[in-house]
Symmetry: C2
Subunit: 203 residues, 2 copies
DNA sequence: AATGAGAAAACTTTTTAAGTTTACAAAGTT
DNA sequence: AACTTTGTAAACTTAAAAAGTTTTCTCATT
């Protein structure tokens, strides 16, 4: 009965699949079996709808991350699991989504971030602390700095223009990069765990 | 130096990645580092360009199929290899491409098919004959009928609306369906080969 | 020097999706 | 029973952006 939420979820799925511009308000209304009017009853315009979608996606993602961390036996396991999730996330996201985002809706994200409604970057600090406590990351690392670096690394695959080349290999390159970064801040025990989970994935 | 071909290949890649409507002639020109004018020198309009892209894709696909058949030790191996190719093909194709195709450019395919410039459906007849010769398919099958049926089966995953649900499982469902159909027309030897290659994939 | 192929960018036109309005229907409320 | 709310359906207007055109300029070739 909560129309607003229903609309957001349907729009999220369609935006991710087809891109934002390709999804018209009429399509969305049709897909939901409601009238376009009703959408405009809940959202001033498409921009506001998109903002709602983005916020909801952020919340959902956050929840997923918390869940994975809660369920994992150690940080490295959690990280590899998250990595998988991220890959799936990007796999199911149409490049058109990113394109539209950059080309037409850039300002929306910017505004949301500025008004504090969307986090600018992920918070890996808890993860790093936990890693240190588990004896997986070295005790002497600069947590804040590493957090920032990790965010940069994570931003990388999003920035890259990828419609050239078969991007099968891309995923592996990225994983390699990320994993090597983690190695750099790990203890001996951490290294062994990384090797263990990494091998498990490769095979 | 062959502008026409260069344009077609770039457009093909971009259309497949972003959908057709999302790719403007300006983007395409930019991407190629040529002027929009030059594109219109070689193609009357976007429709003609799309037609060129579709024809080229058909040619390339045909070549790939011939190659796989030439290199495979038996029909079943070839089919599984082709299946992989198809999956990759669809994986790298934006849903927006199909959406645009159906919503706006429907008539183009229709025209191309009517004028005989595009084949309406794949020709599995050689494959079936080879399978019979290799003792993999039963000798008593009606080749033409089976060919038609296979084409229907192959058309299926394209028809389905998939922007609902995680479509990870979709691929497997489809493979299952297709493989079972093949089992139905196979000899004992064929069945064994199917089981062999199928198991190889599942694991 | 002349021609032609193309780049760059400004321009017009067409398309189409955004957003609005209107008319109407069902359901609950007073 | 009249009234209000909440919605559908569809026609409508308007704004934006992409299609397609034109103009001007450059550089390479003959």
């Amino acid at each position: 009965m909560d129309y607003r939420q229903k609309i957001i979820e349907a729009a999220a799925l369609m935006f991710r699949t087809y891109g934002i511009r390709a999804v018209t308000m009429d399509m969305l209304a049709n897909e939901l079996g409601i009238s376009k009017r009703t959408i405009y009853e809940k959202f001033r315009d498409k921009d506001e709808l998109l903002a709602g979608v983005l916020k909801w996606m952020a919340v959902k993602q956050k929840e997923a991350v918390v869940k994975v961390f809660g369920e994992s036996e150690n940080v490295i396991a959690a990280i590899f699991r998250l990595f998988d999730m991220m890959c799936e996330h990007f796999q199911n996201m149409s490049p058109a989504f990113r394109l539209d985002m950059e080309k037409y809706y850039n300002n929306i994200v910017k505004n949301l971030i500025e008004s504090g409604e969307l986090p600018y970057s992920a918070n890996n600090i808890d993860m790093l602390k936990r890693g240190i406590k588990e004896g997986i990351f070295r005790k002497d690392i600069d947590i804040d700095l590493i957090n920032q670096c990790l965010n940069e690394v994570l931003r990388m695959p999003g920035e890259k223009d990828i419609y050239r080349s078969e991007n099968n290999s891309n995923r592996n390159i990225f994983r390699d990069f990320y994993v090597n970064y983690l190695r750099g801040i790990s203890t001996q025990k951490g290294l062994e765990l990384i090797n263990y989970y990494n091998r498990k994935l490769t095979m």
